[in-house]
């Protein structure tokens, strides 16, 4: 394109997502291929059926709206918004998905599809951004955030951080020879033990102290006699974050880096704590060794630091939720131990059961406490009094550590939720048998439960009972669906306002109520219907797909939407925290650029589609 157009057209295109992801030269070539047209207010776009007349449309000035064939509003679009992806699908002949009408005089840029494809052939890695399919586009959006900016050690690959120095010895090597190999030859703190070429064990210098020297073991014995059998390993391409999660979960300090049974190196806690932020990952360890509730409360800022690092690192929502949950678990367990020490040992068995997002492994910075106690049926009234005291102490302790008390009082300190198993079984039977519309909200929190302390069997019995009751009830799931679909996602963001389905506007987006909760609800419905024993939102959707309840297409769409929306929410919370404000779920739309607007619209549409599908599947007659 001649020189003078470049600063004008190219510059505009270069700031619109997804064109802004493309290299400068490609942006220039696309700008050269653009056609410009003008639509007066009320005029419609004529979507050409012929392949050579298909375009991606970018609004330069003005605004447009899309309506479904039945007249329902699909979206309102303003400057920098893009539409027409749907029509790029080669499977779509001249079938019209929607009608696009100018609602103001609009200057429209048309990017010819044929030309775009030809250009993208030279740059295949960018073609995902222009996929006809919303889910592929969402996926590419997640990828982009992933690779943006400074990632921090969390999102580095294990291979980048791990030491390549590791001793590998045979199982029948003596303890002393092994120590020599570690110390003198490899100068490493760990040795991997192989037998017939297969990894069978791991030994660390700590093991040498604890298991050999301290116990006076003969150092001529084979190393296999003192090694850790079948050690946990990690792959070179796994994220450091995953490795640290494994280390924390299993309380190990070294992980051999292994690929195809080949030892590539060793990852130890020392590699991780070199970075300050990684020290925060060992918060769990510090929680475990805290002696007073006050000490625990002082660790709260570290929890926030971890959250910030995870969000900034672009770590997936599932992993963020998982890490934050492990931390909350650690707090709860430590406080329970302290309470037992203070009040004396528990008079009988019990289970400390968490519910809601905590049970789903989806804790974030705003999560409040949802917990309960299940007692054996022979527990006496005075036993129950003990546990109410215990629960009070723990719940207040959690509150002091920055986990707000549950406003709905779904807490073990509430006598209603500190009950013997028999009562809990009756609760679940009653809830499933009479799912009154207005009560569902109250009990849905207990549709996900997880035991984090005490006798797990007390909780798993309840869960199985719930699934059985649901399977026997024809009314329960339809009620859940009806209840959930009374709230619809918005259509999108237009002119800095949230555009709702009826065409009304509001000036903040409650991303929890209008997006996250809807997906969590849908996952619950599908999960419970498929008798899924996992409670995680993504896990439930995956399970429903495996059981044939969700198409592969819909699964990918929904996971993409959930991932994107969670990320938007977390980023919003992060921004608030950094500005010294209280994080909340209310986002002002002027924070959204063209990137978020476009992908939120895709995500909202996917939620809406799944609501429709669920209505048909679960509520017919």
């Amino acid at each position: 394109m001649p020189q003078t157009l470049i600063p004008n057209i190219h510059h505009f295109i270069g700031q619109v997502d997804p064109f802004d992801k493309l290299p400068d030269e490609l942006q220039r070539q696309i700008a050269c291929a653009i056609k410009i047209t003008y639509l007066g207010k009320g005029e419609q776009v004529h979507f050409g059926g012929a392949v050579d007349a298909r375009y991606l449309y970018v609004i330069r000035t003005g605004s447009m709206e899309q309506r479904n064939p039945d007249g329902g509003l699909r979206a309102k679009l303003g400057p920098e918004d893009i539409f027409g992806f749907t029509f790029l699908d080669p499977g779509k002949e001249d079938h019209q998905d929607y009608i696009a009408t100018a609602i103001e005089n609009t200057l429209l840029y048309l990017v010819p599809h044929e030309e775009l494809q030809r250009l993208l052939e030279q740059y295949p890695k960018f073609s995902e951004h222009f996929a006809a399919n919303a889910q592929v586009r969402l996926h590419s959006a997640l990828d982009v955030q992933w690779s943006d900016g400074e990632k921090g050690v969390f999102v580095k690959k294990v291979a980048e951080v791990a030491s390549k120095r590791v001793a590998v010895v045979d199982a029948d090597t003596s303890i002393q020879q092994t120590a020599d190999e570690m110390r003198r030859i490899c100068r490493t703190s760990c040795a991997v033990i192989k037998q017939d070429g297969v990894i069978v064990g791991l030994v660390t210098d700590r093991d040498m102290t604890k298991r050999v020297v301290a116990q006076g073991i003969d150092i001529q014995l084979p190393i296999s006699s003192i090694m850790t059998v079948e050690p946990l390993t990690i792959g070179p391409d796994d994220l450091v974050l995953q490795a640290s999660v494994v280390m924390m979960q299993h309380n190990v300090r070294s992980l051999p880096v292994v690929e195809d049974n080949e030892v590539l190196g060793i990852l130890t806690t020392t590699h991780l704590v070199k970075n300050n932020r990684m020290q925060a990952m060992f918060l769990i360890e510090r929680i475990k060794y805290s002696e007073t509730a006050q000490e625990l409360a002082q660790l709260a800022p570290e929890r926030q630091a971890i959250f910030e690092a995870l969000v900034e690192g672009g770590v997936s929502a599932e992993v963020i939720g998982h890490v934050m949950t492990m931390i909350m678990d650690a707090y709860s367990r430590r406080l329970l131990q302290m309470a037992e020490r203070k009040l004396g040992p528990a008079p009988c068995e019990f289970a400390w059961m968490v519910a809601g997002s905590h049970a789903r492994n989806e804790v974030h910075l705003l999560s409040d406490q949802d917990c309960a106690i299940v007692l054996p049926d022979d527990a006496s009234e005075s036993d129950r009094q003990y546990f109410l005291h215990l629960a009070h102490w723990v719940c207040n302790g959690l509150a002091a550590c920055g986990y707000p008390l549950c406003p709905g009082k779904f807490m073990a300190a509430n006598p209603k939720w500190c009950q013997p198993k028999q009562v809990w079984l009756a609760y679940y039977s009653k809830w499933v048998a009479s799912p009154e519309y207005d009560k569902l909200l109250n009990i849905s929190v207990f549709l996900e439960t997880r035991c984090i302390y005490g006798n797990e069997a007390l909780v798993s019995v309840l869960h199985q009972h719930l699934l059985d009751e649901i399977a026997a009830s024809s009314r329960f799931l339809p009620s859940l669906v009806r209840d959930s679909v009374t709230v619809n996602p918005p259509l999108g963001i237009f002119n800095y306002l949230v555009l709702e389905k009826g065409g009304a506007h509001s000036n903040t987006l409650n991303i929890k109520k209008y997006a996250i909760t809807l997906l969590v609800d849908l996952a619950r419905i599908y999960g419970l219907s498929a008798q899924c024993h996992q409670d995680g939102t993504e896990a439930r959707f995956r399970f429903a797909h495996e059981q044939g309840l969700l198409s592969e297409e819909m699964l990918k769409n929904v996971l993409g939407a959930y991932g994107f929306i969670s990320q938007v929410r977390f980023k919003h919370q992060l921004t608030a925290l950094k500005a010294g404000k209280t994080a909340d779920n209310h986002i002002t739309p002027d924070q959204f650029g063209s990137f978020e607007r476009k992908h939120l619209k895709d995500a909202f549409r996917i939620i809406n589609d799944l609501q429709e599908v669920a209505k048909i599947r679960f509520t017919k007659d």
Binding site: N8, Y38, G40
Partner: protein
């Protein structure tokens, strides 16, 4: 087909003059191409016509003394402006660029040494004009310089061009609203009134694009979704 009483409509007259012009003169091929296509009839829908939006940058306003230093043009087909067929060139010139115009168009003498020879640039323009109605904002200037070139290069009289002038069309709108003479009709100001984007840089092609977009907006303002009868549009007051 327009009714017979439209015989004296300026467009009809222009068509007859052009036939005559082509018969009377031995035209060079490029100019013959530019003038070969018939002029649209009075009732033709302007929205369906092919246009060529054009802008010339010159050293001044007087065609007899000043020079063309840059040309920019691009076609509009069926209401779509095609950037892929946009063209712009600087004209090779030994003439000094006046400092006062250099301030406006940012073209300095050094840039013109490597430019296209004027004859080559004009031939390319004439070929691009074939079959198209010309569009410019304030078309008198473009027309004056083109006719001056015909006179100098070929000794030809002024050619019967078919122009649409966005400035004249805009004036007809505002006259309608009773605010004539003193209005601001500069391209950027007019575009702003029609809510068209502001273009940061200045040059022949970007101005041609600006005029093309303005034409599309004006056609809508005048005719909405009705056919835009070209005979009803004010044309450049210069033929």
């Amino acid at each position: 087909m327009a009714p017979p009483w439209q015989y004296f409509h300026p467009l009809r007259r222009l068509a007859r003059r052009r036939q005559q012009y082509c018969r009377q003169h031995d035209l060079p091929p490029a100019l013959a191409a530019a003038l070969s296509q018939p002029i649209p009839d009075v009732c033709d829908d302007a929205k369906a016509l092919d246009f060529l939006a054009l802008d010339l940058e010159t050293t001044g306003l007087d065609p007899s003394q000043d020079h063309i230093i840059s040309l920019g043009y691009l076609p509009v087909a069926q209401g779509n402006i095609c950037l892929s067929q946009a063209h712009e060139c600087l004209v090779q010139s030994a003439e000094a660029v006046k400092p006062e115009t250099a301030v406006i168009n940012h073209i300095v003498p050094e840039m013109l040494v490597t430019g296209t020879p004027l004859d080559e640039a004009m031939d390319a323009l004439f070929f691009a004009m074939a079959g198209k109605v010309l569009v410019a904002h304030g078309a008198q200037l473009e027309q004056g310089f083109i006719n001056q070139y015909l006179a100098r290069q070929y000794g030809l009289p002024a050619a019967p061009w078919c122009w649409l002038d966005t400035l004249a069309i805009e004036k007809s709108l505002t006259v309608y609203q009773g605010q004539h003479k003193h209005g601001d009709f500069r391209l950027a100001s007019v575009r702003q009134r029609h809510c068209l984007p502001e273009y940061a840089s200045h040059g022949a092609l970007i101005d041609a694009l600006a005029a093309a977009e303005l034409l599309l907006a004006l056609l809508h303002t005048l005719f909405h979704d009705r056919p835009a009868k070209i005979g009803q549009l004010p044309r450049a007051q210069c033929d």
